[in-house]
Symmetry: C2
Subunit: 308 residues, 2 copies
């Protein structure tokens, strides 16, 4: 396998897998294609939560206890915003703010999200390519029983409480893959779909015209890692959403969702082995660096088995 490892990733859960893969020797030339459907403008700042999760994970900056944002983070800015009567539903840490301010500045100066992201990765000595799925604006909109909600309003402000009836990706039909995305998929040795929310974090990537097609045409085996353990999502609303969409919430639903795209799936060790597709089992709960690399290695081993 001459090509690189390519990972499709959303935010926190995906970033753990990306971090695990980055610690392996196969990381050389690793490319991460990241969901930008969650991106939004808040307090005048351009925020790319999933890109930031991946950047922080690979820079070694992730907060391991809180599960999001930067370690050693402080909240003085938020306290001052509160005193000024500003919006407080979305937390911006003092360290994290620098990322958003520099991104906003770069994009206002005419840099693309790709360029801004690449500069940050370089500044933090990250030895992997982190590519936004697209440089065009795409917004994940959640159709709920209370009406349509932009992603962050649903996910952060409402804590996923409203019942999800559907999802659409505003702007995706006019978007094109960011530079390098299609080439990375075409030339990949292995493609992993991280255990991110398939509906909210991976589907927006697949909705960018050209990415699904590149994945289908890729020579490399495509391995998904299931976000479910015992039918439940470890973190986030995957299983709640699956129930709301009328699914049983098993790995079979994940396999069906990715039908035509994936060649294999990694599932949790105690879950039933999916009957219709190549699979590998491991403990998919990623609590420490060892876990993260083990899950990534399991996906790579499955890819190797399929390729042979």
């Amino acid at each position: 396998m001459s090509g690189a490892l390519v990972v499709l990733s959303g935010g926190v859960g995906g970033a753990k897998l990306v971090e695990g893969a980055y610690a392996l020797s196969e990381r050389a030339g690793m490319v991460v294609i990241v969901n930008t459907g969650d991106d939004f403008c808040h307090l005048g700042l351009q925020i790319s939560p999933d890109i930031d999760s991946v950047l922080y994970a690979l820079a070694g900056y992730s907060d391991r206890e809180r599960g999001w944002g930067r370690q050693g983070e402080s909240w003085q800015f938020m306290q001052a915003i509160r005193e000024l009567g500003g919006p407080t539903w979305f937390n911006l840490g003092d360290l994290d703010l620098a990322t958003h301010v520099m991104r906003t500045l770069g994009m206002r100066d005419g840099q693309s999200l790709s360029e801004v992201t690449s500069r940050m990765a370089n500044a933090w000595a990250i030895n992997a390519q982190i590519l936004p799925m697209t440089n065009e604006p795409v917004a994940t909109i959640i159709e709920t029983n209370e009406g349509p909600l932009p992603f962050q309003r649903y996910f952060v402000e409402r804590q996923c409480a409203p019942a999800l009836q559907g999802v659409h990706f505003q702007g995706s039909s006019d978007a094109s893959p960011a530079p390098g995305v299609v080439a990375a998929l075409a030339g990949a040795a292995t493609i992993i779909i991280a255990p991110s929310n398939p509906f909210l974090s991976v589907d927006p990537i697949l909705a960018v015209p050209g990415i699904r097609e590149a994945l289908e045409a890729a020579k490399a085996p495509v391995i998904a890692i299931s976000p479910l353990i015992g039918g439940q999502s470890i973190k986030g609303p995957t299983s709640k959403i699956m129930a709301e969409l009328g699914m049983a919430g098993s790995n079979d639903d994940i396999v069906a969702h990715y039908a035509g795209l994936i060649d294999g799936i990694v599932t949790h060790i105690s879950d039933p082995v999916p009957p219709t597709i190549e699979s590998a089992q491991t403990d998919t709960l990623m609590q420490n660096s060892h876990d993260k690399s083990r899950v990534a290695q399991c996906a790579l081993d499955l890819a190797r088995r399929i390729t042979r």
Copy 2:
């Protein structure tokens, strides 16, 4: 005297006097007209250093040891900006950032600097009107032996090292006084020119067409407080600049500079009494709240004496 106390102020030094006046019983309806010639856009944020100094002083937020910015300030954002290779010559504290982010957001939403400032003063329960000299952009440009420098580049980045040859206020001829400024001067009971830098902090206010005229036409006595003690400025480059402009650096130069505008001057207790104008003497070094109020009271008493 039925009108209010009106103070013309620059940043740190002026804000001390404003704080002193605010603590007096005569503060009812107090209006502060603040220099905005130092305002600039940095990291995409709209920064009004002198307005912020006055806001922080009256909110009780000023850092007394550092002499600028907010007490309890932290610098995590700056550390993260440094890691990202961003500009570090102008320090933005984590608390302070909230002011700039909220101002930038408000102005992008179409609010004037007056409106944004007034909202902040309300949020911090400040019982005085803080008015920018103008809502139009005016930029203080320092002509130096190294060429023209925008104010913050000269003052903060270069620490006033280049020799000053002149000052101009870009945009001032097209600017108009912010709402309330002319009316406040016309209806004032007393007008105080704070011990701010006459050339860099007070002159930009006077350069806004209509303000000098309103000051000249005001019925109230106008009292300047000298920024000099023994011919030296306590803080900042006033005496250095006076030397560069060929002045001896005495209170007579200050009186001459404000000729036609002021009716009296407060000077330091050990300095020679200015011969050509009504004056009062006190220790003008403002190290604590008591000092600040004493100096403000001295100016008010001088005004009362002149009015009688």
